[in-house]
């Protein structure tokens, strides 16, 4: 009798366990609740608000898994090296300097998103729809407002002005071989002075004691006089959005930015960032949805304060800090992505020989 009771108990509990499984598993099969995983590979600077990602996840019953893979070059390398067994479904962060290389590696599938109607046409550089523009930012010379007003020094109006004696030793730039804003600035000078003239210009800049450092962090935080490093150069190659970041990330409330950027014709270089669906994805439908999402107004309005770039979607409204503290160049410098891919190494080597040796 006692034994029977024991078996009965076991039996009942088994039933209950099974029942529990049953109860839970029914809605899973019915509504297909088990979320799929979408892998998005991107660079370390990527950022997005938690709320809008969880909204996307809920709507599409998906778990978005971000693979942050170093800087732009490192992330792209990862995508290229693993193209035979793709690690992700979507890749965000190819910029116009790497675009042509990425396309020639055939790592993206074409996708003509419906959202493209709201995207600024000027940014759509890839006519095969493998890389769709998400955002852009301008690499510009930033200046320390206080320095110029207190020294009663007029601002340089163009790149040519920077070789004038009054700006001797006042500009810090990044090495184009190791830094992405450094490369962009080199390209601005190539766009302005041409393939035959840019080295001459750099020679004069060198004679005017331009300071070269390897990375943006050193240029901005150590050399730039308006940043927390309180360095010696009041002119730095940075982004046109940096003045807004100075206000937002200040340690005391500010009504105006301590910095601003020089936006005359061809003095800034426009970096455009693209998203693409990686070839060989098993989640093509979801990947398309994610690309749509990145181009949508929700994501595009979230972009500026997360990554300090401009939305490619013309309908997206900008945050107040952007309209108040940032100036956008009307005529930024630009170069053909194919030319960049072809000449990049030549330019960098020539620049190194001219400026560093």
């Amino acid at each position: 009798m006692k034994n029977n009771q024991k078996y009965l108990l076991i039996f009942i509990s088994l039933l209950m366990v099974l029942n529990a499984c049953q109860v839970r598993s029914t809605p899973i099969s019915n509504q297909n609740v088990m979320p799929k995983v979408l892998n998005v590979m991107t660079h370390d600077s990527f950022s997005v608000s938690e709320s809008i990602i969880s909204e996307f996840e809920k709507q599409n019953n998906v778990k978005v898994n971000f693979l942050l893979s170093g800087d732009t070059g490192a992330a792209l390398n990862r995508a290229i090296l693993t193209k035979n067994s793709p690690q992700a479904d979507v890749f965000y962060g190819t910029d116009n300097t790497f675009m042509s290389r990425a396309l020639s590696e055939n790592i993206f599938e074409p996708y003509k998103s419906d959202e493209l109607i709201n995207i600024n046409d000027d940014l759509e550089l890839d006519k095969s729809y493998r890389l769709l523009p998400v955002d852009y930012g301008d690499v510009c010379i930033n200046y320390d407002k206080k320095f110029f007003s207190e020294n009663k020094l007029s601002l340089p109006e163009s790149l040519s002005d920077l070789v004038n004696p009054e700006y001797k030793g006042l500009l810090v730039v990044e090495n184009p071989a190791t830094s992405s804003p450094g490369l962009s600035f080199l390209m601005a000078t190539i766009a302005e002075f041409g393939n035959n003239g840019y080295l001459d210009y750099w020679k004069k800049l060198k004679e005017n004691d331009v300071v070269v450092v390897n990375d943006w962090e050193t240029a901005y935080y150590t050399n730039f006089s308006a940043s927390s490093g309180k360095g010696n150069q009041p002119l730095v190659v940075s982004y046109n959005t940096s003045p807004a970041a100075e206000v937002i990330f200040s340690d005391h409330p500010l009504t105006d930015s301590p910095t601003s950027s020089i936006i005359s014709e061809n003095s800034c270089f426009r970096q455009i960032e693209f998203v693409g669906i990686l070839s060989g994805t098993h989640e093509r439908a979801l990947a398309e949805k994610f690309v749509d999402f990145m181009l949508s107004q929700t994501f595009q309005e979230d972009l500026p304060l997360q990554m300090f770039v401009y939305p490619a979607n013309v309908k997206a409204t900008l945050p107040e800090e952007f309209t108040k503290f940032i100036s956008v160049p009307q005529k930024p410098a630009s170069l053909d992505p194919e030319l960049i891919a072809k000449e990049r190494e030549v330019w960098i080597n020539a620049w190194t020989d001219e400026v560093l040796r």
Partner: protein, 572 residues
């Protein structure tokens, strides 16, 4: 003849378990080192075809190679200049603040270079406080110390990072050296210098060579220090590899350069294991009370004070500059930087705990510390386990050991970019997939830490007199019991020292693991880089605050571990 044969059979049988256990580190190495590295080389060769023109190639290899060797040579020399006297006073003397000092010398290892560069700038940069101070006192127009972006800055940073290697590797062995040998030599009429050259140096030779080699390789493959403190005028092979691989996407060139770096390393480690082999003297473990004494003569006192002062200036002041900066709000009243108003603030720390931008990648400091610590502890376990097994194999006297020894050193001379990309190339599908196999991060750290661990454990292991284990076995103790009651107590100090090395290497490593890092497992260096990648005073302050927290917590952890003695084990 017959006798010899018999003896050989016996010997190989005796070594069999050791060889089998020694295979475990080899298997680990083949999977996690040779596979990724050879995969990258294969891919580089596949892509190479005939893109590379030889006449342009030679200067592009020769220049960075020459500079890598030259700066590593200078850096090692100057590190030794500070490190050897420091190792001596740590091994031989008791002085107030010694354990604190020992911990502080370890801290540089865990600091990401980007913050160290900021620390050096806050200290001796053009507007660093030392320059500002000197300019005020002597009424100078220009900052007197202008070494940022010079070779001197590179050397100084390398001394800052690597002095601890000399203190721990040489100092560790020195502390085991019987003082009576020196006394005997002295009473036989030898001068102090003669005693050092004829007695101390030969006995400590393996430790010296090990320390020199480790530091040289670290400097040889230096990357972030060259980039951030040396500036664009200098490029080591490692910097070139980084540029070629990640900025020009020229994998063949990067592969070629890292191949050359590797061949050079292999050459160096082979020479090392050849010359160092069979020269290990049995140093019996000593009680610290027996070897360490209070300084009695004035010269000894002066010597200790001056070395401590030097260590403080080079190691502590840059770190302290960081800490102070994390508590200071600077309001400039004039743009010239002459009228700066300094205010104490805690806001950088307070803001660390707030996800202001609601970002999905916000890293709460506690999480970052937890992740760093867990990864660090796993690295310690892997590195000690594999390092111990490898050390046992290395203490055999066979030819195989020499190759084994040279090979295990290779990760130190391997480009982090190459290793990282190699990991991506090999481990991208189950069972080991970078995306779902978080152990790859501590494994990569273990590869770098292992040479250090072996250099520390192996000499200690050899120092155990066979007499001890033999008599224990004779008295009927099981191998396990012998290990627990004889080996472990004698090795405990070496284990602690080696474990601390593995831990600090893991916490500070930022090379190969940037490729493997996962947003769900952010570590402290990653959090610091995230702050520093955007403009704004607050971001800068928060990076400094995070670095300070990292420093303090690691110092506390190291302090506790150094205090920790297994119960029932006297302090050897």
């Amino acid at each position: 003849m017959n006798f010899n044969h018999e003896k050989m059979r016996k010997t190989s049988f005796k070594y069999l378990p050791k060889i089998l256990l020694g295979l475990i580190p080899i298997i680990f190495f083949v999977i996690f080192y040779f596979l990724p590295v050879s995969a990258i080389f294969t891919r580089a060769i596949e892509l190479a075809s005939n893109q590379i023109k030889l006449d342009q190639l030679i200067p592009r290899i020769w220049q960075p190679l020459r500079f890598s060797v030259w700066q590593a040579f200078l850096s090692t020399f100057f590190t030794a200049l500070l490190g050897i006297p420091a190792a001596y006073i740590f091994a031989r003397f008791k002085f107030p603040g010694k354990s604190l000092m020992r911990i502080i010398t370890t801290i540089p290892f865990i600091m990401p270079t980007v913050v160290v560069a900021a620390g050096f700038n806050a200290f001796i940069g053009p507007n660093g406080w030392l320059n500002v101070f000197l300019m005020k006192i002597f009424n100078l127009g220009d900052p007197p110390i202008a070494i940022i972006n010079t070779l001197a800055a590179i050397i100084l940073a390398h001394v800052f990072y690597n002095t601890t290697v000399f203190i721990r590797v040489i100092g560790g062995a020195w502390a085991q050296l019987d003082r009576k040998l020196e006394y005997a030599s002295g009473s036989l009429g030898a001068s102090r210098i003669k005693t050092f050259l004829k007695i101390t140096l030969p006995l400590l030779r393996p430790a010296f060579i090990s320390a020199f080699l480790l530091v040289f390789l670290f400097d040889f493959t230096s990357f972030a220090v060259i980039l951030m403190l040396g500036g664009p005028g200098f490029a080591t092979l490692e910097v070139e590899i980084y540029t070629q691989a990640l900025h020009l996407l020229n994998l063949p060139m990067a592969g070629l350069l890292s191949g050359i770096q590797l061949i050079f390393t292999l050459l160096l480690t082979s020479i090392y294991s050849w010359t160092n082999h069979g020269r290990i003297f049995q140093l019996t473990a000593r009680d610290p009370n027996e070897v360490e004494k209070k300084p009695d003569s004035l010269i000894e006192k002066l010597m200790i004070i001056s070395i401590i002062l030097l260590l403080s200036v080079i190691l502590i002041l840059p770190l302290l500059s960081l800490v102070i900066r994390s508590f200071t709000q600077i309001n400039s009243i004039s743009a010239e930087g002459e009228h700066l108003d300094f205010q104490f603030t805690l806001q950088y720390y307070q803001h660390l705990f707030v996800n202001e931008r609601q970002s999905i990648f916000y890293v709460p400091p506690v999480t970052a510390i937890q992740n760093s610590f867990v990864i660090g502890l796993i690295t310690v376990i892997f590195a000690l386990l594999l390092g111990y097994l490898a050390s046992r194999t290395l203490s055999m006297n066979t030819k195989f050991v020499r190759i084994y020894d040279a090979l295990l050193m290779l990760p130190l001379g391997t480009s982090a970019v190459t290793l990282g990309l190699g990991f991506l190339l090999v481990f991208n599908k189950p069972p080991i997939d970078v995306r779902s196999f978080p152990l790859l991060i501590p494994i990569a750290h273990t590869l770098v830490g292992l040479p250090f661990v072996i250099r520390i454990i192996q000499p200690a292991l050899v120092s155990i007199p066979e007499m001890y284990t033999q008599s224990a076995a004779l008295l009927g103790a099981s191998p396990w019991k012998i290990w627990l009651n004889i080996e472990l107590p004698i090795l405990s100090r070496a284990f602690v020292s080696a474990g601390i090395f593995a831990f600090t290497i893991s916490i500070g490593e930022f090379g190969a693991t940037t490729f493997l890092s996962r947003p769900d497992l952010p570590t402290i260096p990653i959090a610091i880089y995230r702050y520093l990648s955007q403009p704004g005073v607050m971001n800068y302050g928060q990076a400094m605050a995070m670095a300070t927290i990292l420093m303090v917590i690691c110092a506390m952890a190291i302090f506790l571990v150094e205090r920790l003695r297994l119960p029932g084990i006297s302090d050897f």
